[in-house]
């Protein structure tokens, strides 16, 4: 950055590029290897990993970690629920957040500042779990699919991101559209949405990952209805079971009870690793697809023409 006033020579550019590649390579490596380790761990034989952890390739080869999970009661139903909540939740949230993000850029909105701050405030306050539970119960949302969608639909954080992005768009574009007689809705759908693809893709990734991986709402609001069990919650319970067996031994002060509990077959660690792999699936499935919206910068001219 110090060099900004000097004329750029191609050598300094080259040096920079080499350093840049080297640095990014290093960062990527540090990010990939632990993940690779987790993957090979999940394919390693359980009896071997503790004694001899894998390094580059699995120790032995087994699918049992995955098999155990696929064989869980209601696995496919849980996947279905997870996919449903991810798809519906993402569409609903992205649409409403981007619409709100756009509306809040409009200075002609009455009480704009107040409403915007009213929204932002939600990021910092919460009534606590018990209150939320009682509220959901009174809305009839307990054991109801919509409890996965509605409370998370309007995210102040995402709206701020979108609003900031929309504000950066050349204002002249919208003005000329408005002069042509387009209403707010038309401007939003025909102009803002296409131009905001990068930020919408980003928010979509955030929301989708959040939806796919959330289990806590399942845990507190929909425990009573097995038909609404999501994949992550199923896995959470499965992991808990393994963890619980391990803990139970310690919480038992009763002599005879203790000896009954000594042998526990499933290792929480292997399960945890497998869950990590499953949790990151959407990023592999959705993110590369979304990235095409990141790569190209927008062409204002193209939109105009």
């Amino acid at each position: 950055m110090k060099k900004k006033n000097k004329i750029q020579t191609s050598t300094s550019r080259k040096v920079f590029m080499v350093c840049d590649y080297a640095l990014l390579f290093l960062i990527t490596l540090v990010c990939i290897y632990p993940f690779w380790y987790i993957i090979i761990y999940t394919f390693s034989e359980g009896s071997q990993v503790d004694v001899n952890p894998p390094v580059f390739l699995p120790r032995g080869f087994t699918l049992s970690n995955y098999k155990d999970i696929f064989e869980l009661n209601g696995f496919f139903h849980a996947v279905l629920i997870s996919v449903l909540r991810t798809v519906i939740g993402t569409v609903a949230s992205v649409l409403s957040c981007s619409f709100l993000g756009y509306l809040f850029t409009k200075e002609e909105m009455p009480f704009r500042k107040f409403l915007y701050r009213f929204l932002i405030l939600t990021m910092y306050i919460s009534g606590g779990m018990i209150a939320s539970y009682i509220v959901m119960k009174s809305y009839g949302l307990l054991n109801n699919f919509w409890v996965y969608i509605l409370p998370m639909m309007i995210s102040a954080y995402n709206i701020v991101l979108i609003k900031t992005f929309v504000e950066q768009l050349p204002a002249s574009l919208e003005e000329s559209a408005r002069l042509d007689g387009a209403g707010y809705l038309t401007v939003f759908t025909k102009l803002i949405l296409p131009l905001s693809k990068p930020i919408i893709a980003t928010v979509a990734v955030f929301v989708a990952v959040g939806q796919w991986n959330s289990w806590f709402d399942n845990h507190i609001y929909t425990r009573g209805n097995e038909a609404l069990t999501t994949l992550q919650y199923l896995l959470y319970n499965y992991l808990n079971e393994a963890q619980r067996l391990a803990d139970q031994i310690k919480n038992t002060t009763n002599a005879a009870g203790m000896s009954q509990l000594v042998s526990n077959s499933i290792s929480p660690k292997g399960i945890r690793m497998t869950i990590t792999v499953l949790a990151s699936l959407p990023i592999f499935m959705v993110y590369p697809f979304m990235q095409k919206y990141f790569v190209k910068g927008i062409m204002v001219g193209a939109v105009k023409g």
Binding site: D20, I27, G127, G128, I130, A131, V135, I283
Partner: protein, 308 residues
């Protein structure tokens, strides 16, 4: 960019209020009210000695006792100190994801970029429990990294960073950054993608090289996002989360690692002290809002317009 916008919109005419817009926003605001504001009634638990399961009005009324307790609680003070250090460091490091995005943006090869972009987000999906167990195998006394560090520093005896009080802050910061860097940079990559390509062309016409393009076009375009996120983050100063600290807490690191969130978690779950936990979280909320308001005012002083 921000400047050009104010020029086109602000001074010429005061836009007429459009009530149509209000009607468009209101349904959404009702949802916000229902799901974010109605539950705030839970704050009432802080003035009772709440026993879960007992109707609130049958619980003992405590007045402001819990709030007074916060001030006297030595744990809160210590936890605050740790929170300040962790949060302070992470605030200082907030430009990292932006820098990372710029560096990544300089790479013109599409596949390489995509690869780096995708795979650097992976640590975000690794839970703290697993990070702990990975860290344990690398950084325990006979771990690989410990022997490397021992060689580098020339220390006589291998000392694990996991059981070293002096290393807590930088080591935990390192882990947190590792976990979130790639993920947090996504938003800046989006901001870069939003830059009007004409600006680059214009800059090039002016004779700007790569660095000047980056400095005069890319950075300003990201600054807006950065400042907004920065202000929001200032509000989250006290919300450091507890998971990471809970897992890496041990007899040696305990005094340095317990942050406020971890303390609240502990009193809520282990002591079943629900009401006290609510009281602390109320104070935290107030502090958060105050911090955001201050940050917003400072931003107004410096930049001429508020962010929020």
């Amino acid at each position: 960019m921000a400047r050009s916008k104010t020029v086109t919109v602000a001074p010429a005419r005061k836009p007429k209020k459009q009530y149509k817009l209000l009607f468009m926003v209101l349904p959404f605001m009702v949802i916000v009210l229902l799901f974010n504001y109605v539950p705030i009634f839970g704050w009432i638990y802080s003035v009772f000695d709440y026993v879960p399961g007992v109707p609130i009005l049958e619980c003992d009324f405590m007045g402001l006792d819990y709030f007074k307790m916060i001030i006297k609680d030595a744990n809160v003070i210590r936890a605050l100190k740790n929170t300040f250090i962790f949060a302070g460091i992470s605030i200082i490091l907030t430009p990292l994801p932006m820098i990372f995005a710029i560096l990544l943006n300089e790479i013109k090869s599409g596949p390489v970029r995509k690869f780096v972009q995708t795979f650097t987000t992976l640590p975000n999906f690794i839970s703290w429990v697993i990070i702990f167990s990975l860290a344990f195998s690398l950084f325990s006394t006979d771990g690989l990294m410990t022997s490397v560090i021992t060689k580098i520093t020339g220390a006589e005896q291998a000392q694990s960073v996991l059981s070293s009080k002096g290393s807590v802050y930088w080591f935990q910061t390192f882990l947190a950054q590792w976990k979130t860097l790639g993920w947090n940079s996504i938003i800046y990559l989006a901001a870069i993608a939003g830059i009007d390509q004409q600006q680059y062309e214009a800059a090039k016409v002016d004779g700007a090289g790569y660095f000047r393009c980056a400095w005069h076009v890319t950075v300003p375009a990201m600054m807006e996002t950065y400042v907004v996120l920065f202000i929001l983050n200032v509000g989250n100063f006290l919300n450091t989360g507890y998971e990471q600290y809970m897992l890496f807490k041990n007899a040696v690191t305990a005094p340095a690692i317990e942050v406020l969130d971890l303390y609240v978690y502990r009193i809520g779950l282990e002591n079943m002290d629900y009401s006290y936990g609510v009281a602390i979280s109320i104070v935290k909320s107030i502090v958060s809002v105050a911090l955001v308001v201050i940050a917003n005012m400072v931003a107004k002083k410096i930049r001429g317009n508020t962010v929020i």
